[in-house]
């Protein structure tokens, strides 16, 4: 989230799309309700189904799954055509005035941007750049040509306008299935906050995995971010682009780099091309790129300080200037190690073993059948969980006959881990708050804390390396492991280590001093000379000499905006709303005096406010420093240059990989041109012609939590069985009544469950043809109370879903694939 849960109460307008917060985030959903109750805020819900969220909305719009960019592109077109934007914001806080290279080409004719090689399906992105001078010639120009009037036909604003002028209400209707009048009503309502030049009101966009789980998911989110930039809603209380995280600590897992292409704090991992530390830093440290008379802080220019401090935290004294800060200890990522690639690797025999901690890999999918087959080929599998789950019992999955079972050679170890209430530590919520939690009960029986299990595995591995050497023991034997109890490090100790400390007596820019060994007060103290260590720079400031700020429970709210600055600690530096400099106009005065966050104090010559300014505190408005300090341009990117996005600088509508219709914008370019798909025997794709004519989407229920709660009687009582939701009209076509068993098949597998026949999903007209959508919750499998009693078909929804992924984030397309529906 750019903002936070509580901040939603400050909004005037909500677009909830690609998410169903009433269902999946019922506690957080109190804040949208609060905005309605206290501010008469309006809520627009766009979803393939009439959801629990829609039940409280002011307007519900049913959309075809996977046509989100068409809808949002249509919104951008509407906002631009009707002057429903914040012109001052757009001209000063975004790259709208930047002039783009002459040979950059929009995809209006053939569906691809300039530089596409159809044979290799690879983009040469050199034309996706600004005009200007300076720089290396390969990267962004140092000095960017710009036109503050936004009239240059090659400026971002004009290109954007041209690009989205194709997204007419008529086109939106044909692609999304939303009748033109309905679309216009939604566009008018959402952009009404900028009616007649109003710059006071603010709108928020709220989404979740309904946007990410597409082959163009990252671009859907970008389209929404662009709409919010155009309307001047980013950086403001009650505004922003707000991702709702689906687990209590997904944000923390992302921050700490539970992803293969990041190191903690979103540092890009080294690749084999980075021959030494300097080469790595040169590649990943951006230089500023801006119009000559503007300023850009370009905060990522501090990357070497973050990287050296991280290496010091990882390897301690073994990381020295002389050995390039132990850069050569870091693995160099030579290929894609994301989720679907790992399973594909195992299916193809390259990946020999798997440690599965706190996740049920077989259930998570996609294409669970392939993943089960992959595990049969593995040498070993270690599962650490609190329940016996489908993954650890993959060899008992339905369809495996006893004789086949005997031939599965995979050695499976099951480790009893601890549940969330059985360990302390932090959760990082969607609002970026680090909140400490305390142990409620100890782990039962032989169960162990997860970090104890990991520590003991590590120590054993280190012992082996120490004894036997091996090809390259240094990274293992030199790993910093100075915990009081090495067998089970205390998480408080780990949290202090992540915050970081001074390794020598140091001074900051103001002359303030820190003694060696003291906890760092914030990341402004980080050095690239080895005198600081910090496990994750964005969390620096969370556990200082003042104590564990993450354990605070202060409920004072001087802002009146629900910022609660003394509750927990939010990264970065306890800022509650990111980019909050943009909550003020160019002169540094808040757009809305009744929702003041930060502002320029001319007398003190600095930025002050009720939130921590996300900005250079002493940069006067007249210097025109951009509010988006993490971009080298300093401004928000309506145009994402160079390698920022895989499929182009402006989001374009492509059809889901399995789609019942042709891409109306460019029939010859049906799908994302750089989509990633797999080619194993288990990766099969369905078409309408081969009988897969119904669009299917998957989701969670309030009553269950992923694959755990099917082991808990109360949750099972609330929703006892799996089901498939289908429209009354489709059910009547097929002669299916509520409670009848239906068989849903995709090119990859089948799923049988009872039918829930409903009016909440209606047939749609897509490009003149009737199309049905169905949906199903993902929770049930072959282990659980009901499953063990034989009351369900013991099938997995993710046997249906395709392993085809977004080329930016590698997220699979769980939403909007094709199936066939029959009476079972």
């Amino acid at each position: 989230m750019t903002n936070g849960w509580i901040d939603i109460k400050n909004t005037d307008m909500m677009l909830i799309m690609g998410g169903n917060p009433a269902e999946n985030h019922p506690c957080g959903f109190k804040w949208p309700i609060e905005a309605k109750r206290q501010r008469n805020a309006k809520m627009i819900v766009v979803d393939p189904r009439f959801t629990r969220t829609a039940a409280t909305a002011d307007m519900f719009v049913q959309i075809r799954a996977g046509s989100d960019i068409a809808f949002l592109g249509g919104m951008i077109n509407y906002a631009l055509a009707n002057g429903r934007i914040n012109k001052e914001y757009v001209a000063n806080f975004t790259n709208a005035p930047f002039v783009v290279k002459d040979d950059f080409k929009l995809p209006e004719e053939d569906g691809v941007f300039s530089g596409f090689d159809a044979a290799t399906q690879v983009y040469d992105k050199s034309t996706w750049n600004y005009q200007g001078s300076g720089g290396t010639g390969k990267g962004l120009p140092e000095k960017v040509t710009s036109d503050p009037s936004l009239e240059n036909p090659r400026c971002v604003y004009q290109l954007l306008k041209k690009h989205y002028s194709r997204y007419t209400p008529e086109m939106v209707e044909k692609i999304t299935g939303i009748p033109k009048e309905k679309f216009l009503a939604a566009a008018d309502l959402f952009t009404s906050i900028r009616k007649d030049g109003d710059t006071k009101k603010v709108a928020t966009v709220i989404y979740a995995v309904g946007w990410t789980q597409h082959t163009f998911g990252s671009q859907i989110i970008r389209t929404a971010a662009m709409l919010q930039l155009l309307m001047g809603n980013v950086g403001r209380a009650g505004g922003g682009v707000n991702a709702l995280r689906g687990h209590s600590n997904i944000q923390g897992a992302t921050d700490i780099a539970g992803i293969f292409d990041n190191l903690p704090g979103y540092l890009k991992v080294p690749t084999p091309a980075d021959t030494d530390f300097k080469a790595w830093m040169t590649r990943i440290t951006p230089t500023s790129s801006k119009p000559g008379d503007w300023e850009s802080w370009n905060y990522w220019s501090n990357t070497p300080k973050f990287a050296v401090s991280l290496l010091k935290a990882m390897y301690g004294d073994a990381a020295k200037k002389e050995n390039d800060w132990a850069f050569h200890y870091l693995p160099k990522v030579d290929r894609n190690y994301s989720w679907t690639y790992l399973w594909d690797g195992m299916y193809n025999g390259h990946v020999k073993g798997l440690l599965a901690f706190g996740m049920n890999g077989v259930m998570v999918g996609p294409n669970s059948g392939k993943n089960i087959d992959a595990l049969k080929k593995a040498d070993w599998l270690v599962v650490c969980d609190i329940y016996p789950d489908e993954t650890s019992e993959f060899w008992k999955s339905p369809g495996i006959k006893p004789e086949e079972m005997k031939n599965i050679k995979t050695e499976v170890y099951r480790l009893p881990g601890a549940g969330f209430a059985e360990k302390d530590g932090t959760f990082v919520n969607s609002a970026r708050w680090l909140q400490w939690k305390w142990v409620a009960v100890p782990p039962p029986g032989n169960a162990k804390l997860d970090h104890e299990i990991l520590a003991r595995i590590f120590l054993k591995v280190r012992e082996l390396y120490q004894k036997e050497g091996g090809k390259f023991p240094d990274p293992i034997v030199n790993l910093s492991w100075g915990y009081t109890n090495p067998q089970s490090p205390s998480l408080a100790e780990v949290a202090r280590e992540l915050n970081g400390k001074a390794l020598a007596d140091i001074k900051d820019a103001t002359g303030a001093e820190l003694k060696s060994g003291q906890q760092l007060p914030g990341f402004a103290w980080l050095k690239d000379d080895g005198s600081t260590s910090c496990g994750i720079w964005i969390w620096c400031g969370s556990w200082t000499e003042a104590g564990a700020l993450i354990q605070r429970r202060g409920t004072d709210d001087p802002s009146g905006l629900g910022a609660y600055p003394n509750w927990g600690w939010s990264w970065p530096m306890n800022r509650r709303v990111l980019y909050n400099r943009a909550s003020c106009d160019v002169s540094g005065k808040p757009w809305d005096g009744s929702r003041k966050q930060v502002w320029w104090n001319e007398a003190q010559k600095k930025w002050v406010g009720v939130d921590v300014p996300d900005f250079k505190a002493d940069s006067a408005p007249k210097d025109h420093m951009g509010p988006f300090i993490m971009n080298p341009e300093g401004v928000g990117r309506l145009f994402a240059p160079l390698a920022a996005m895989a499929e182009g600088p402006f989001p374009e509508h492509y059809e889901p990989f399995e789609s019942p219709t042709v891409n109306l914008l460019h029939p010859k370019q049906q799908n994302n041109p750089v989509v990633k798909k797999f080619t194993s025997a288990a990766d099969k794709w369905g078409t309408k012609e081969s009988g897969f004519n119904v669009i299917c989407t998957t989701y969670r229920l309030t009553e269950h939590y992923h694959y755990w709660t099917k082991n808990n009687p109360v949750n099972v009582q609330l929703v006892p069985e799996p089901f498939v939701e289908l429209p009354v009209e489709l059910a009547s076509d097929l002669g299916i009544k509520g409670g009848d068993k239906v068989k849903v098949s995709s090119a990859r597998g089948i799923y049988i469950a009872k039918a829930m026949v409903t009016h909440r999903i209606k047939p749609m007209q897509i490009n003149g043809e009737k199309v049905y959508q169905i949906g199903m919750p993902i929770h049930f499998g072959y282990r659980g109370i009901q499953e063990d009693e034989g009351r369900t078909e013991r099938m997995l929804v993710n046997e249906l879903t395709p392993a085809v992924v977004d080329p930016n984030a590698y997220t699979p397309e769980f939403k909007g694939f094709l199936v066939k529906v029959e009476k079972a």
Partner: protein, 288 residues
């Protein structure tokens, strides 16, 4: 809530004065359910189940998100889910937390013949005292909302207590505490009525729900559980909430004229017997 709220106001099947009645000034409590902000999350169902210590019961899929078709003797709190399409095609998914309404004029209490099986506290809570229940189920007949449920094993009837055990020690009912969206409110009846009216005015002015209204039906003397509904003209759309609930005629008769007539008949019988005795004297014993 103060401790004084469990002062008894009326007792089922009890003749004579109610002990302690009217001895202290107190206020009535109420639960307000704003169905326009209910998301059907069932937190109230779980909180109710757990507070009352009732175990897991088996349910089956029934083509709905609703947990079970009806409330049960050990499941007081049930959200009813209804799909509704208006004449103009506008679709709504209605979710209403169903449970005892705690009527000011409780049909169950009127119908109950057992001394002390049903009590109404001065704060408005209507509570079943199972130790005095004789299992006759007259209360089931007396309720216009189909709330009291019979446990065939123990032969006792149960229903929502409005957490009288919590309210009595100053806590809010468990469902209120669990509600994540603030759709459930609890306080004095006056405050809740005020809150409800304000919400209704807001809905009428700022949303498309021009028929919004407060459900506090006069036919049962008003209730200590009230609803804010999107459309007060059609309460039946919310899982069959009656439009104009009344204590059934038979129950009114049973405790009113019928009881009086019964008493009259009984008195007349005694009078007749006495008159007969006076007129004819004692029955003579005939010797064989």
């Amino acid at each position: 809530m103060s401790n004084g709220t469990l002062e008894i106001k009326a007792i089922s099947g009890h003749t004579g004065t109610v002990p302690g009645r009217d001895t202290s000034r107190d206020y009535a409590v109420a639960k307000l359910i704003d169905v326009t902000t209910c998301i059907g999350c069932k937190a109230c169902e779980v909180a109710c189940l757990e507070w009352n210590g009732y175990p897991f019961r088996e349910t089956t899929f029934d083509n709905t998100y609703q947990t079970m078709p009806d409330t049960a003797w050990n499941y007081y709190n049930l959200i009813r889910f209804d799909e509704h399409t208006a004449e103009d095609g506008t679709f709504s998914w209605l979710m209403r937390k169903d449970g005892c309404m705690h009527c000011a004029d409780p049909g169950c209490l009127r119908a109950c013949p057992s001394d002390g099986a049903i009590v109404q506290y001065a704060n408005g809570i209507v509570d079943f005292q199972q130790e005095n229940c004789i299992g006759c189920q007259y209360c089931v007949t007396g309720c216009p909302f189909n709330i009291p449920k019979f446990n065939a094993e123990t032969k006792k009837v149960h229903k929502c207590t409005l957490c009288s055990d919590r309210v009595g020690v100053g806590l809010e009912p468990a469902c209120i505490k669990a509600c994540p969206t603030g759709c459930l409110h609890f306080g004095s009846k006056d405050d809740m009525k005020d809150l409800a009216e304000k919400r209704v005015a807001q809905l009428k002015e700022h949303t498309s729900h021009k028929n919004a209204g407060v459900y506090d039906p006069a036919g049962v003397g008003g209730t200590h559980v009230m609803y804010v509904l999107h459309d007060i003209e059609h309460p039946e759309r919310y899982g069959g909430l009656p439009k104009d609930p009344q204590v059934p005629l038979l129950v009114r008769m049973w405790k009113g004229p019928v009881k009086w007539l019964g008493n009259l008949a009984m008195v007349a019988g005694i009078v007749g017997v006495a008159a007969h005795y006076v007129r004819f004297g004692p029955k003579e014993k005939h010797e064989d």
